[in-house]
């Protein structure tokens, strides 16, 4: 027996291939959407991995520092160092902002890292692709290569200028913005710093306040002004553990003694994936559903048209004794063939276009397999309407009136 489906496809291959390519681009978009989600999860994990921390100590009852804002005093880390199991504790700040270089600016996450020996302080970039780590206490920066900055570039962050001394790769925030590392003190200032006019205004207000400007208490005004122009807060303290200590136990003791909120790596991942990108994930999920419905509609429509065009032939085939099964098989095979063409085109399109997307697109084999299964199921379901139509064709129609 010859394959009726493949003969029909070869006979009308133009229509078939063009529909297949159209469907393929749709499937490509679907795969990229799934890749965007995977990329977001992977960005989140990279963020946690690259921080080098075992525990995140944040402001009490917040989901900080990535999902909510968090503020802890910058001397908190000293108290943590004394606890059993804590190897290192380092302050860190995060501030997402536009970093300027000359006339252009780049959206980046500015990370303030504690001075110290490279590789020993959590929060430092674990490795560089070029240049060196920050060695001076001020005005040096390490930037991710995705910012487009190069070594030697001068950046402006608020009112200060920084020189790029090192470059990293895939150091990104959970929303995919590249990171720029600067010394902690500078970062604290950047978070807090106001323009000259605002400083002057606030100084004048303080001076005009009789409670703070007491002629009888010399030095009070100066102390108040000094406290107003420094920022003693950081967003979190990153903690590494001594070998052999369970993260949960150390986290418990920090919670008990320091009255702070502490997250382990696993909890942090839950927050990033389950809360921070959950809305985006649902958004992408909605798009995937819509794309699946549109793909199904396209396959159903084209297979239906192809079947409608063949009603007479189907009646003749039935009249001369073709089994219903053979006719249903023909339609089903055409739908599946369309799905196969579409999937191959889609996979190729997704693979080649992924690097050009501004956000990280991670195509994982599991999604490819799931996508393939979904395409096949959609094609089979989409062909059912046409199969039903074909099976209801009366062989008597071939004889006519």
């Amino acid at each position: 027996m010859i394959s009726l489906a493949s003969r029909d496809i070869l006979h009308g291959w133009g229509k078939f291939v063009f529909t297949g390519i159209g469907l393929g681009l749709l499937i490509g978009v679907t795969l990229v959407m799934a890749g965007v989600y995977r990329g977001m999860v992977d960005d989140g994990k990279a963020l946690l991995d690259n921080s080098g921390a075992d525990l995140w100590v944040v402001q009490r009852d917040t989901l900080g520092p990535y999902a909510e804002s968090s503020s802890v005093h910058d001397d908190t880390y000293r108290g943590l160092l004394g606890l059993r199991g804590v190897e290192r504790a380092a302050n860190i700040t995060y501030l997402t902002m536009q970093v300027r270089k000359g006339t252009q600016d780049v959206r980046a996450m500015v990370v303030g890292i504690t001075a110290g020996q490279p590789g020993q302080v959590p929060g430092w970039p674990p490795y560089l692709v070029a240049g060196r780590q920050i060695t001076r206490g001020h005005y040096e920066a390490v930037a991710d290569i995705a910012t487009g900055f190069r070594i030697g570039d001068r950046l402006s962050i608020r009112r200060n200028q920084y020189t790029v001394v090192g470059l990293t790769r895939r150091m990104v925030s959970s929303s995919g913005d590249p990171m720029v590392f600067i010394p902690l003190k500078d970062a604290q200032e950047a978070q807090f710093l106001k323009d000259n006019d605002a400083i002057w205004q606030s100084r004048r207000r303080t001076e005009a306040n009789p409670a703070l400007n007491r002629p009888g208490v010399p030095g009070l005004l100066d102390a108040v002004l000094a406290s107003q122009s420094t920022n003693p807060y950081v967003n979190a303290v990153l903690v590494t553990l001594e070998p052999g200590y369970a993260p949960d136990e150390v986290a418990d003791s920090i919670r008990r003694w320091q009255r702070l909120t502490v997250y382990t790596r696993a909890q942090m991942e839950d927050i990033l994936v389950g809360k921070l990108i959950a809305t985006s994930a649902r958004q992408i999920g909605m798009f995937l559903v819509i794309l699946a419905v549109v793909s199904a509609a396209i396959v159903a429509f084209i297979i239906y048209t192809l079947t409608m065009d063949k009603i007479r032939e189907i009646a003749v085939l039935k009249l001369i004794g073709t089994r219903n099964r053979t006719i249903a098989g023909m339609i089903l095979q055409q739908a599946v063939a369309l799905g196969l063409i579409g999937f191959v085109v889609g996979k190729i399109a997704a693979t080649f276009s992924a690097p050009f997307f501004p956000k990280y697109v991670l195509l994982v084999p599991a999604d490819t397999i799931a996508g393939f299964a979904a395409v096949m199921i959609i094609c089979v379901l989409a062909s059912l309407v046409s199969i039903r139509l074909a099976l209801r064709v009366d062989p008597a129609e071939a004889i006519g009136g």
Partner: protein
Amino acid sequence: MSIHAGRGIRIEGLVKRYGHGDTAVDALKGVNMHVAPGEVVGLIGPSGSGKSTLLKCLGAVIDPTAGRMTLGDESIFDNGWKVRDLRALRRDKIGFVFQAPYLIPFLNVTDNVALLPMLAGIPNAAARAQALALLTALDIQHRAEAMPSQLSGGEQQRVAIARGLVNRPPVILADEPTAPLDSARAMAVVRILNDMASQFQTAIIVVTHDEKIIPTFKRIYHIRDGVTHEEAGEGRSLSA
């Protein structure tokens, strides 16, 4: 003819009623007909007289309401009782030739004809050989590889006839097979049907309006208001 009297196709008192109650239409009101193996008969009647209905009953695509039909020695319908596998009956016992050729557009000429034996389970090579032999008999073997759309109307009709004949069915039902053809082509088709009838001992029923070919039948059934009348035809010679 008498030696085949018990064979060929025979119908007795065939009734076909469409619909029920007040709206019921009796398209056939007790038709009697017998076509012997090797015989070609004409079926003639005005529009609405029941020709298509009769052909559909004979072709086992609709069920008669009452009466009897036998094919060879086999009863295929008997007052409500019918053969179980009508599909296989159509495939193996009945050849169809239509007014329009209705070839399968995505199969070439050979495979259009070979499809029937293939459907009956004959291996592709053997089925194609069978098809080619018949295409040769119909003098169209030179178009064996062509697609239907590349053939003229007359060539398509010959391929359709080959398809109707390929399983060597004991009965062929032809519905206005010459309607789209010019006079010479029409006569050629009638000649082919007659040749095939005598060569393979096929009983052939030709429904037609075609004044050109009516004189060629030796026997004609006139149908009017669902009743047939048998009549001798001119049986004019077919030699070109």
